[in-house]
């Protein structure tokens, strides 16, 4: 598994995001046991402490839950939660950046919406 080490995102965040994608893609079902910190460390070639921090990030958001002595499991509704969270956090953040950049480049709001519309069209045709 390759991590993007140049990214601003810390590795443990990248790991957490990768796990979220796995859950979104239904590679891991609800109440299914998720990778342990050691498996993740092995997969990503990172220190297990880093992997543990990634898992804890998910646990903090209740995407996974701990069973004492058994490890971590995917929470029910995890998928839904991730979707909502991503919409809220990631998309909103991206739009914010988009708007700032558009302003800097003197792109009007309608032009921007057009560009989004066009791109979506192109993407579908592909």
């Amino acid at each position: 598994m390759i991590l993007n080490t140049d990214s601003m995102k810390p590795i443990y965040v990248q790991i957490a995001e990768w796990l979220e994608v796995e859950i979104l893609n239904s590679n891991m079902k609800e109440d299914e046991r998720i990778y342990s910190q050691y498996q993740l460390a092995d997969m990503f070639t990172v220190n297990p402490a880093t992997a543990a921090k990634g898992l804890n990030l998910l646990a903090d958001e209740n995407i996974v839950y701990k069973k004492r002595g058994l490890g971590m499991f995917v929470s029910p509704n995890a998928k839904q939660f991730i979707l909502t969270k991503r919409r809220k956090q990631i998309l909103e953040q991206m739009i914010k950046e988009l708007v700032i950049e558009a302003n800097r480049l003197d792109v009007s709001e309608s032009e921007l919406i057009m560009m989004i519309h066009n791109f979506k069209q192109d993407y579908k045709e592909e």
Partner: protein, 300 residues
């Protein structure tokens, strides 16, 4: 319990101080990276922990004992560097089988597997190997001994990047199965930062930083922008690094916590926040002066 306890340790060679009142502790089963520039005292520190040399002052304890000339500590420690010497009458395979009886946890199937993976010539002489192959071979010993304290001093010297990756991967995989305390020194943090848990940064024989690598990533940010705006923004704050990269433009590195409150205003001032790789941060932290090499060329 701490495997290494270093309290106010100084090592001097005549007038020179290789280590200067150094204190730190390293916990059990952690992978710690010892980072520092050339001549920072990394090798001196590691040799001292391995029991090769004695501290001039201060208290150093490894497994709760003074490591110098201590058989018990020696039995639990392996020190790997590229000065390791093996007898001329040993071929590479001989070395693996002859070193084995000394270390209780030695795993010969692992050693043989790694030996074959890196396709060494079993009949070769250790003294005849290239720098990179020697480092690789020594690292095999370092991994296969499975010593409770495994020390690597610049283990990847001369290795090509593929072998480096393999080495770090092998080390981590074996560590996951058989956790142990590992110390790795390097002047290049980037190549090993992923497998580290902690980082110990030393500069001129003194401790600079000792913290989990994840915290290092969040320690500081770089800000770039108009000189005037930037200077007012960071006024009164301690800068880690400052560089004028174009006329009227400034680049500074600053601790994240010191600008926590104002962080939202950065963008509004037309300033750009840039991530700093831990590697660069270490370079800035151990920099001799504020400027760096560019200053040398800016005089004219």
């Amino acid at each position: 319990m701490n495997v290494i306890q270093c309290h106010d340790v100084t090592k001097s060679y005549g007038q020179n101080r290789a280590l200067d009142h150094l204190s730190f502790e390293i916990g059990e089963n952690k992978i710690t990276g010892l980072i520092g520039r050339n001549g920072a005292g990394k090798t001196t520190l590691l040799k001292m922990i391995a029991g090769y040399i004695k501290p001039t002052q201060g208290e150093l304890q490894v497994f709760t004992r003074k490591p110098f000339n201590n058989l018990d500590v020696s039995a639990k420690t392996i020190f790997i560097d590229d000065n390791m010497t093996f007898p001329d009458s040993f071929r590479l395979t001989d070395i693996l089988s002859e070193v084995a009886p000394f270390y209780a946890a030695w795993n010969s199937s692992l050693a043989d597997a790694l030996f074959n993976y890196f396709s060494f010539d079993p009949n070769q002489a250790h003294s005849n190997m290239s720098k990179g192959s020697k480092s690789t071979f020594n690292s095999i010993i370092g991994i296969a001994t499975r010593c409770p304290l495994t020390i690597f001093d610049e283990p990847t010297t001369g290795m090509d990047s593929a072998v480096r990756k393999d080495f770090y991967k092998a080390l981590l995989k074996d560590y996951l199965e058989h956790p142990r305390t590992i110390l790795l020194s390097s002047h290049l943090l980037s190549e090993l930062e992923e497998i580290l848990e902690d980082i110990l940064l030393i500069d001129n024989g003194s401790k600079c930083l000792h913290l989990p690598i994840m915290e290092l990533r969040e320690l500081a940010v770089g800000i770039r922008g108009n000189e005037q705006a930037l200077l007012t923004f960071v006024e009164g704050k301690e800068l880690i690094y400052k560089e004028e990269f174009a006329k009227g433009s400034l680049y500074v590195v600053i601790k994240k916590e010191s600008i926590e409150q104002e962080f939202k205003h950065v963008r509004q001032n037309g300033l750009e926040v840039l991530p700093i790789s831990p590697d660069d941060l270490c370079v800035y932290l151990t920099g001799k002066t504020g400027g760096g090499i560019d200053d040398v060329f800016k005089r004219s």
